[in-house]
């Protein structure tokens, strides 16, 4: 377990930028800013023009920490209090869940909730609950 500082201002500013990106993607490309959907469309391309904008968005995302490095002089913190086998298991489970659930934190939690979509509200409440239960079980029942 790693202690982290409460950062309301940075987190709010980050959230505002995430929201701005979602609004801009809808205003220009007419698309939902969902990491799952954008990634899935890269893995299973329908045509070149659809594939290329998705790749451009992901390249932009990957440039985010580099821009932060250029502005502040350091990369954003990525602290992983999880073993490599658990990262593999967790990543695989996330991949299965977001495919059947048709979305993740960005697609359902931000874009869908902002449209008051009943499916997204139900999905977000469900994954927030099961994430909290999983963290509780791992940290306080199993004692990881």
């Amino acid at each position: 377990m790693i202690e982290t500082a409460f950062t309301p201002f940075q987190s709010l500013a980050g959230g505002v930028l995430i929201g701005l990106a979602a609004v801009m993607l809808m205003g220009t490309m007419g698309r939902v800013m969902g990491a799952t959907g954008i990634l899935a469309g890269i893995l299973q391309p329908s045509n070149l023009s659809d594939w290329s904008w998705r790749v451009a968005v992901v390249l932009g995302m990957v440039s985010g920490p580099v821009a932060v490095l250029a502005i502040t002089g350091q990369f954003p913190a990525v602290q992983v209090p999880v073993s490599t086998p658990m990262l593999v298991i967790g990543g695989f489970i996330v991949g299965i869940g977001v495919t059947f659930g048709a979305g993740c934190t960005s697609g359902h939690g931000v874009c869908g909730m902002a449209r008051l979509s009943p499916r997204s509200i139900a999905a977000t409440l469900t994954f927030m609950l099961t994430t909290a239960i999983t963290v509780y079980v791992i940290r306080h029942v199993l004692g990881g």
């Binding site: 377990m1 982290t4 500082a5 987190s11 709010l12 500013a13 980050g14 959230g15 505002v16 930028l17 995430i18 929201g19 701005l20 990106a21 801009m24 993607l25 809808m26 205003g27 490309m29 007419g30 698309r31 939902v32 990491a35 990634l39 893995l43 299973q44 290329s52 451009a56 968005v57 932009g60 995302m61 990957v62 985010g64 932060v68 954003p76 913190a77 990525v78 602290q79 992983v80 999880v82 967790g90 695989f92 489970i93 996330v94 991949g95 869940g97 977001v98 495919t99 059947f100 659930g101 874009c111 449209r115 979509s117 499916r119 139900a122 999905a123 994954f127 099961t130 994430t131 909290a132």
Partner: protein, 149 residues
């Protein structure tokens, strides 16, 4: 033009994820650890993103269409079904184990942290496995009966 704009939008998203703490599994897991090292920061991420998107979508979706594409592509389904709820529940278990969600992990690749590549490789494998499984299920049992909640 479409590619340049898409890149810039991804960049804004990636900077937002970076400074919000969503790319940091320690912070994400502590948000959910209410009984332990609780760090409520991520509520501010969600709150900020939701308010901006809620207000911004009102203006954008009033227009006749997006600037660089022919039409808005919005999900239209409103029913709740088992794949949606079950998938979301499974996603939460994985998120709770690893601390990365897809939107947090993709920008985090830019830090070149090897753990992020491990997670994203497993995420991609999971997406491909689930798509293969879903295609196999659809092929075997057509017409499909979708259980609705």
């Amino acid at each position: 033009m479409r590619l340049f704009v898409s890149y810039l939008i991804g960049l804004v998203f990636g900077i937002g994820i970076s400074i919000s703490g969503m790319a940091n599994p320690a912070k994400v897991l502590n948000f959910f650890d209410i009984a332990g090292q609780w760090d409520p920061s991520l509520a501010f991420v969600m709150g900020g993103a939701l308010i901006v998107t809620f207000v911004g979508y009102r203006f954008v979706l009033k227009r006749s269409g997006p600037a660089l594409a022919s039409q808005f592509q919005l999900p239209t389904r409103r029913d709740l079904d088992l794949p949606l709820i079950g998938g979301a529940a499974v996603f939460g278990v994985g998120w709770g184990i690893a601390g990365f969600c897809p939107g947090g992990a993709l920008p985090a690749l830019g830090t070149a942290n090897p753990d992020v590549f491990v997670f994203v490789a497993a995420l991609v494998a999971g997406i491909i496995a689930a798509k293969t499984l879903r295609a196999a299920l659809a092929g075997r049992a057509s017409p499909t009966i979708t259980p609705t909640l």
